[in-house]
Subunit: 245 residues, 2 copies
Amino acid sequence: MARPSPRIEVAHEALRQAIIEQALKPGTKLPEDVIGEQFAMSRTLVRAVLAKLEAEGLVDANPKRTATVAQPTLAEARDVFEVRRALEAEAVRLVAKRWQPSFADELDSLLRQEDEARARQDERVSIHLAGEFHLRLAQLSGNALLERYLRELITRCSLILAVFGRPHSSDCAIEEHSALIAALRKGDADGAVAIMHSHLGAVERRALLGGDDEKPAALGDVLSRYAAAVTARQTTKPPRTANQP
Amino acid sequence: MARPSPRIEVAHEALRQAIIEQALKPGTKLPEDVIGEQFAMSRTLVRAVLAKLEAEGLVDANPKRTATVAQPTLAEARDVFEVRRALEAEAVRLVAKRWQPSFADELDSLLRQEDEARARQDERVSIHLAGEFHLRLAQLSGNALLERYLRELITRCSLILAVFGRPHSSDCAIEEHSALIAALRKGDADGAVAIMHSHLGAVERRALLGGDDEKPAALGDVLSRYAAAVTARQTTKPPRTANQP
DNA sequence: TGGGATTTGTTCGTATGTATT
DNA sequence: GAATACATACGAACAAATCCC
């Protein structure tokens, strides 16, 4: 995959994070002018960023209309979860096949971090690490394409949660992740797949439970915060191959 | 998903078809000027088209370098087939779940067409219909996202065949498709999934068998042919929901 | 190795369409 | 319902990098 101009990637990642963490609520308008001003780039580049986000299902964009943060329908949500279940099951199968003890250490470490974040009620980090566990699993599958698809799906699930779920509901239960690691450690591939299936079923049920809204935030404020954050992450860790912090 | 400017869609579809049918060989350079001239549009629009094709894995594009028709590596090919197997298995499962007799008619009809094309050795149509059967199955799953992913994967498989397969080897055996329909008719979901699995295994084996190259063609000639073809298809059938002829 | 031709990256102006009063 | 304000669509031109001889 081509690496676009670094400025594009910065803006892309910043907006991605802002949407995932629900700092930009679904339906929020994203005028090219405002985005361009925040990231100091011309509308041409902004359009490229918005196009990427649209391809990922994170923004709705119709010709001649201002782009907005995507508002997934219930049918789309169902589709996303269905595909995600199939793909994560396959990922678990592959991870089980090429299992190594070091994998358990990695996953355990993530699990611990997630637990800590949950304990100190740090919602932003908590939301982030929830997806990170699943993403790491996808990476361990050794299939780059599977990883790319799952990254997209996991991200979209965060957005779906924002629309349909209780505000900031934690979407993953720690115990379910921990059971998954245990099954993989035992070499129980089928068991691990089954656990993943029921885990994602539970996530979906929690996600589609209820939903309400809070107060919107000023677009400019949110973006300036996220622009700074992403720039910092990139400069401290310049030669990233993947684009996860 | 936004409908882009119709001109973008024409060029996109034309290039897609040209790549799938191997009229544009992997590695062929795709300069923005030449494309723009062929489709009578400015480089701004060409860039949008190339971006889409890149996202679909059909072109390799690096910054400051001329885009080329993608040359999948062996590892990428393996990844594509792996994900495709998982997703098509899921599609078959879903189709079985919402099975209706009319489905069989549709699939039978495609099968017949494919058979006829094969009989009169019409390679272009044959290649096209081979993917069409699988794509139709994805549509019958009722999951739009699954359909989108599978369209991408099926397309990429055609490209992979161009790189690694024998030139113009037929990638799908008729009997395997026919057995799949039979299993679905009987209501044998598990059997159908198993057939799909082994079918795609066979396809992969055939695809990764051998490979050699022939003579390249002039980019301009190829594009003008495909531009005319796609325009004709679109004007005769304007309000398409999907973009398959 | 060097330099010219080619090709892409980016900006900005104008046209066109949409939403709002 | 018409006019105005606003935002996007598209294209031409300039700058910078790459490719190739």
